[in-house]
Amino acid sequence: MRYLPKSDTERGQMLDTLGLDSIEQLYSHLPPDLLLKRPLNLPAGKSEYEIVDYFRARGDENAVGYASFLGAGVYHHYRPVMVDVVVSRGEFLTSYTPYQAEMAQGTLMTIFEFQTMICQLTGMDVANASMYDGSTAVPEAAMMARRVTGRDKVLVARTVHPEYRMVLDTYSRYEGAPVAEIGYDSESGTLDFAALEGKLDGETAAVIIQSPNFFGCIEDWRRAAALAHAEGALLVYVFTEAVSLGLLEPPRDADIVVGELQSFAHPPSYGGPFAGIMATREKFIRQLPGRLAGETRDSNGNRAFCLTLSTREQHIRREKATSNICTNQALIALMATVFLSVYGKQGLRELAGQNLSKAHYLADGLKPRFTAPFFNEFAVRANSRSPEEVNAELLKQKIIGGLPLGRFYPELSGCLLLCATEMSKRPAMDAVKKAIA
């Protein structure tokens, strides 16, 4: 086996040192009836070439070379070459969580930069070193809001990503914490404020909204925050399309911002691994879950970084921790940090602008289902045909169409959710328009 560095001679020398005759003696103390008495039923080990060939063949069974107009929480954005150059360095790729600060200053400083950039993008004071993904960051935000307010009930907009809401349900059900949904205005495609006012009360820990929401529409977070705060509840702002932060006014009135970073340099990768963020106000720092890197000094007085405030965490607090979360998504967060360094202050804005322009070109001539302003995706009703029929026709032209919304919103069963990014090309967009119009 080529990943094992020892020769049989070396093994023999080591066994001699241990006074053993065979390597099997190392587990001879295990109860014999528990031992596996046959080889594992797995194919023989494969060469590197066979492995590369196998996965290339599996990749070819997917949609290689297709244009795609799917968004819905996962976006096609160009990945600058620099991203893989950096994350392929073994010193980043093969390192561990930076508990030993003196040997991990590289990782720690990049996390510190990441936390800073997330604060700058979201308008928050403090951000953690990342969460598993956007979907799991939502229940973590709900739990945090419950800790901060001492209340149980959570209100979540139906325009929050449906799978994020499913995850929130799973976590909340077993905590015995009620979750109620707030509908959307069927004309604008944004939060139904009358419904929100009706359900908000002194028992509410948090109001959770997403912007751009699942339909791509921009929500009025100022109004949602004012309503939530009037009842002593927190406003949790969720995003799935991180590129929108380049153009959209940050949700400065929110109390907790969570979201998905996939757009910043991670390919769609059939749904993961991604990275979530969580940012909040200074006064809630001690209720924040997950890792935090902080600046300090070393014994020579030089600037240094280390993980900090770990008394919130499971390895210290055990069942009293803020969360059971252990790993963060450091390498994905590093990808995002490199991506944001490459684009920078002007580039991210320009990139977001291109997304906005492409999506509006795609929508031009179609009739978007909702009236609210949108960023790079929108719902549209297909003329006289079902979304599935439209998609089937597009697939023949090597185009993956939009997400049929009926799957998550039965009342929108005639609608598609279409997304355009800087990678969408005009001929493919024209083909989509033709298929729908």
Binding site: K6, G45, G106, G272, G294, I400
Partner: protein, 498 residues
């Protein structure tokens, strides 16, 4: 033979924000092939930000120098032994990185129609089957994002199953040697924690356990081998006892690297377990993630697995969402797919015999280190070691030197420290897991370094207390960091924070 390290020139580097200057660019976007849209007109002026305050502006050359310089301040498996106990820091095969970037896999969208996602689904199905065979379990979900997330998934399933029988029960028994995630997970799943004290051999006390298990107990969370690296030899009796009282057994699979090909949790009575694919199955830790926490179950828990499930119909894969007893979703989409690709590539490269040989080498390495260090460090539990060994700093503490100090000194010898002060049942623990990745030479150098440090502690303990000496960053003041947290950069002339 030369020692492991010699110091060399190491570049200084500022934060990106300090390198930034207005007008620098590291990017160029293609010309727009559609009319440009005015953001304020399309989004509303109140929704459009004027600028991203203080966001960096740097050139491409500065980007690569910045991150390359920072990388040299790090340590990774690619540089040598990384003996963190319970973390299984093994070699991360580079071909896995290549195949995870295969275009048709990396660029597959989770909502693309099944007819153009068969390859991705096949990869997941193959991995599920391989993990079921390795663990001796009946079904596997690949949805959880990490080990602790897998724990939560497993405990929620236990809860759902007991609920379906009429009573979810109230508490979960967790040995005092367990990882901190175990009790944290139980709490999040709505369970109280009943703490089980290990016996004088550091393993589960069957009689004490028997006294604890009543109708309030939902499950036992057990790590096997436990965090001492010791196999729970009475595990079959433990699982039988739990089952006889209507409770279940969850196994934390963090230490599965000691068992692959030798014995299977499914064959000793475990009902549900997670696997850390970033430990046993070699996917990179990447400085803290991403990982993946596959969960394997026996058939009686299968109906409760997270949705959706892969199903095969007429020779094609599909996602089945019709799972009425499922605990629901624990994350969006289907799992950390890119990590799953790497794990399957690892399994394919080894094959059955290769996986078993890896386990044997991991056992050999741990026992070789134990033998080399036993004369110098106190070994509080004498049971046979599996894939890791745990010493205590008892002898060194008498000279005022604790496990963390020894760890810091080890850095000067060119090694990443072992796991410090865990498990909690050992006072001043040094928890060492070499994995199968190390050859004899690297192990001999490690043993030599540890022996030297033990001698330094005898001769000049104060010297060890101030280590490390040869790193660019000397001992970091973690107390100051926590007392007055600085968690982000701010422009110095930006005025007081609100």
């Amino acid at each position: 033979m030369p020692g492991k390290v010699r110091s060399h020139i190491n570049q200084n580097e500022s934060l990106l924000f300090e390198r930034s200057s207005p007008g620098k660019k590291g990017y160029q976007l293609p010309d727009l092939d559609v009319p440009a849209v005015d953001p304020a007109a399309a989004l509303g002026a109140e929704n459009t930000r004027r600028e991203i305050e203080d966001f960096p502006e740097v050139s491409e050359v500065e980007v690569i120098r910045h991150f390359s310089r920072l990388s040299t301040w790090n340590y990774g498996i690619d540089l040598g032994l990384f003996p963190l106990g319970s973390c299984t820091m093994k070699y991360n095969p580079r071909v896995n990185e290549l195949v995870a970037r295969t275009e048709g896999l990396a660029w597959a969208h989770p909502y693309q129609p099944p007819e153009v996602a068969q390859g991705a689904m096949e990869v997941m199905a193959q991995l599920e089957a391989a993990l079921a065979e390795i663990t001796g379990m009946d079904a596997v979900t690949l949805e959880p994002a990490a080990g602790a997330h897998g724990e939560l998934t497993g405990v929620l399933m236990i809860r759902a199953m007991l609920e379906s029988r009429g009573n979810p029960r109230r508490k979960i028994i967790i040995p005092d040697s367990a990882h901190g995630t175990n009790p944290a997970t139980a709490a999040i799943a709505g369970y109280g924690v009943a703490n089980l004290k290990s016996n004088d051999k550091g393993v589960i006390d069957l009689e004490a356990l028997s006294r604890m298990v009543d109708e309030d107990i939902a499950a036992l969370m057990v790590t096997n081998p436990n965090t001492l690296g010791v196999f729970e030899e009475e595990i079959a009796k433990v699982t039988a006892l739990m089952h006889s009282r209507g409770a279940l057994v969850y196994m934390d699979g963090a230490n599965m690297n000691a068992l692959v090909g030798i014995t299977r949790p499914g064959d000793f009575g475990v009902d549900v377990m997670h696997l850390n694919l970033h430990k046993t199955f070699s996917t990179p830790h990447g400085g803290g993630g991403p990982g993946a926490g596959a969960v394997a179950v026996k058939s009686h828990l299968e109906p409760f697995l997270p949705a959706p499930r892969l199903t095969r119909l007429d020779g094609r894969w599909n996602w089945n969402w019709n799972r009425p007893q499922s605990i629901g979703k624990v994350r969006a989409f289907y799992g950390n797919f890119g990590v799953l690709v790497r794990a399957l590539a690892y399994i394919m490269a080894h094959g059955g015999p290769g996986l078993r040989q890896a386990t044997l080498d991991a056992l050999l390495n741990a026992n070789y280190i134990r033998k080399g260090l036993e004369p110098y460090y106190d070994l509080p539990y004498q049971n046979p070691s599996m894939h890791e060994c745990v010493f205590s700093d008892d002898r060194q503490a008498k000279r005022g030197v604790r496990t963390m100090d020894i760890a810091k000194r080890l850095i000067d010898y060119g090694f990443h420290p072992y796991t410090v002060a865990f498990p909690l049942i050992v006072r001043g623990a040094l928890m060492i897991e070499p994995t199968e990745t190390e050859g004899k030479q690297e192990l001999d150098q490690f043993i030599e370094a540890m022996v030297n440090i033990a001698k330094e502690v005898e001769n000049d303990p104060l010297f060890v207390l101030k280590a490390p000496y040869d790193t660019r960053t000397s001992r970091v003041d973690e107390v100051a960091a926590a007392r007055k947290p600085v968690l982000r950069w701010k422009r110095e002339d930006a005025g007081p924070a609100d």
